[in-house]
């Protein structure tokens, strides 16, 4: 459309409606957008309230300190909590060195024009979107059975979950490293530091809050994952705490899933109570991450 044409047409034709009607339509449009935005949040609110109504009456000290049982009144989640804590330990131990090292390589060392570096980048992007159950299949074939043959142990479960969240750790760590201005590194290099000295003494310390935030959020994603653990074959009826990396285990999301699968309503109430415990754990982790981000992150 040329400007000459537009000049000859009435305003209402160009804009669709006379200007006076704009205000009403605009207001309606904002309301629709606000409504669409609030629906998902409303579902979240209803979910939390419904779970609280079902689960809170079941919460008690004995629920937290008992093992699963065939009798709902006696059943608890001690072994599920300890199992989840063990998994958190294994996941952290794997993803921190591997994730940070990968991020450092991609941000500081890799020459982005080289083919293999591009392959690594695209690959990580793709891995981040692979369904977690596919990692479960990998865990089943290669970690539980096959080459590693670790069996259905804490170590196998933790390694599988670490694989699920590794791409996320790499991506968030890269963002944290990128947030450090190049002038910091250039200053260090100009003073005669080697590349690694600049990274180790300047860039890495400045980006630790950002990296830690990413790691904690990844851990909280890992401990909510259920599907990979189903395949790795964590048992759902474990009446003892894990004693080591080679111990059989269960975990909170699995215990929840197993209780939901029971047709008995009393067990479903227990599932709601266990969900509350899991959500509280996640909220604590997220609060730590947000505090770290807000308090220690440097503004450049």
């Amino acid at each position: 459309m040329t400007t000459a044409e537009a000049g000859e047409r009435p305003v209402s034709e160009v804009l669709g409606v006379p200007p006076a009607a704009h205000k009403a339509r605009d207001r309606g449009f904002v309301l629709v957008l606000a409504l669409l935005t609030s629906i998902a949040l409303l579902v979240l609110a209803v979910l939390l309230i419904d779970t609280a109504i079902d689960g809170v009456p079941q919460l008690s000290l004995s629920f937290l300190t008992s093992f699963p049982s065939a009798f709902p009144a006696k059943a608890g989640i001690e072994s599920a909590i300890t199992g989840t804590l063990w998994l958190m330990g294994v996941v952290t131990f794997v993803i921190v060195p591997l994730g940070v090292a990968s991020a450092l390589y991609l941000e500081e060392f890799a020459d982005g024009t080289r083919l293999w570096n591009r392959i690594i980048e695209v690959n990580i992007q793709n891995l981040a979107a692979v369904p977690s159950i596919v990692y479960g299949i990998l865990g089943l074939a290669y970690i539980v059975r096959g080459p590693l043959s670790l069996g259905r142990t804490v170590l196998a479960g933790g390694l599988t979950l670490a694989l699920v969240v590794l791409p996320v750790v790499i991506i968030t760590s890269r963002e944290a490293l990128r947030a450090v201005p190049p002038s910091i590194k250039e200053g260090a290099l100009a003073l005669g530091a080697t590349r690694w000295q600049a990274i180790w003494r300047q860039i890495l310390p400045s980006s630790i809050p950002g990296i830690a935030t990413g790691v904690i959020l990844s851990i909280s994603r890992a401990i909510g994952e259920t599907a990979p653990l189903i395949l790795v074959g964590a048992a759902t009826f474990v009446a003892f705490n894990p004693t080591g990396l080679d111990s059989p285990f269960t975990a909170l999301p699995l215990q929840i899933f197993s209780w939901i699968s029971q047709p008995n309503d009393e067990f479903r109430m227990l599932a709601a109570a266990a969900i509350i415990v899991l959500l509280v754990l996640l909220v604590i982790l997220n609060a730590v991450a947000i505090t770290l981000r807000n308090r220690y992150q440097q503004r450049w």
């Binding site: 579902v43 979910l47 890799a110 596919v134 089943l140 929840i256």
Partner: protein, 318 residues
């Protein structure tokens, strides 16, 4: 000069006297190699996924009970029966129906949320809404499964809407998966809308357009490739979502198109079969890998499309 990589041989003290002996660079090389190896693990993981899936999938098709054409076109999926049938169509169909329902829910909610956040929300509202959406994204999917089965189906679908649905049904699964992927769609779409240059908006305002017209006719079309990327990524998450459908949609592979009935998706089959103690090498065990392979390929295609679209809007505006 002895230093191999010095960028300039400037006058003054020679590089070695300032930086120390060149030997230290060996350590630097070793570190670079170690970091490269760490980064390469991600490729090893992908290779591991591909090899483990293809290996068992080939073994699956080598099985006498299975034929490739029967797998792709058969309408019966009963791998654990004594006279098993291996037609993947019911599983693919269940996945497509549930993903379709999820997208019908997530597209308007996700784009509406993105437009609201990008074009209307004040900084204060934004800073409250975005973490809440992240919270929604952070709730474990098993919790959504619980919600779909114990609240959404009995209280909303049956109670409030008076629908005649089964205890396990595809509709509840699809709708809840849709809510689950709203943060994914919204955050990618919002990134794209925020990346639309301010000058385009100002140009439209200058021509007398209202805020709504700017949003609908300028920002959304300009951000279309990013919005598409968000939708495709959301679809990929819906296809791969396991717990909600495993819990709420049932485990009945069916060719029925009615979402009020129970149905089984590819992911739910993998979860339900993997739950039991499937012996290594049995046809049921191999079937997990064959379905997983199909799932992996579908999500890989969707992810690649999504990455392409994101790259397109980045190229245009950044």
């Amino acid at each position: 000069m002895a230093t191999s990589k010095a960028t300039s041989d400037a006058a003054g003290p020679n590089a070695e006297s300032v930086f120390g002996p060149a030997r230290r660079r060996i350590g630097e090389k070793a570190i670079a190699v170690a970091l490269f190896l760490a980064a390469a693990t991600s490729v090893v993981i992908t290779v591991g996924i591909v090899i483990s899936l293809t290996g068992e999938t080939l073994a699956f098709f080598a099985d006498q009970a299975v034929s490739v054409s029967g797998f792709l076109t058969g309408a019966q999926w009963t791998p654990l029966f004594s006279d098993p049938e291996f037609g993947i169509r019911p599983l693919v169909q269940g996945t497509l129906i549930i993903t379709g329902i999820a997208l019908i829910v997530a597209i308007p909610l996700g784009i509406g949320t993105a437009a609201f956040l990008s074009e209307y929300a004040s900084p204060r509202v934004r800073s409250a809404l975005k973490p809440t959406l992240e919270l929604l994204a952070g709730v474990p999917t098993v919790v959504f499964g619980y919600f779909a089965l114990t609240f959404f189906t009995p209280s909303i679908l049956k109670g409030l809407l008076g629908m005649d649905v089964s205890v396990f049904n595809g509709l509840a699964g699809g709708i809840i998966v849709g809510v689950l992927i709203v943060p994914t769609v919204a955050s990618v779409a919002e990134d794209a809308m925020s990346a639309v240059p301010q000058s385009l908006r100002e140009g439209a305002y200058g021509l007398g357009a209202s805020r709504r017209q700017v949003t609908v006719r300028v920002v959304v079309p300009a951000a279309l490739s990013g919005i598409t990327a968000g939708i495709v990524l959301g679809a990929s998450r819906a296809v791969g979502e396991t717990m909600v459908v495993l819990i709420a949609a049932g485990q009945v592979p069916t060719t029925s198109l009615d979402p009020r009935n129970p149905m089984e998706t590819m992911t739910a089959f993998i979860g339900a079969t993997g739950k039991g103690d499937v012996p290594t090498g049995s046809t049921g065990y191999k079937a997990i890998f064959a379905v997983g392979f199909a799932l992996f390929v579908i999500t890989l295609i969707l992810n690649t499309i999504s990455i392409r679209f994101v790259r397109r809007y980045r190229q245009v505006y950044e």
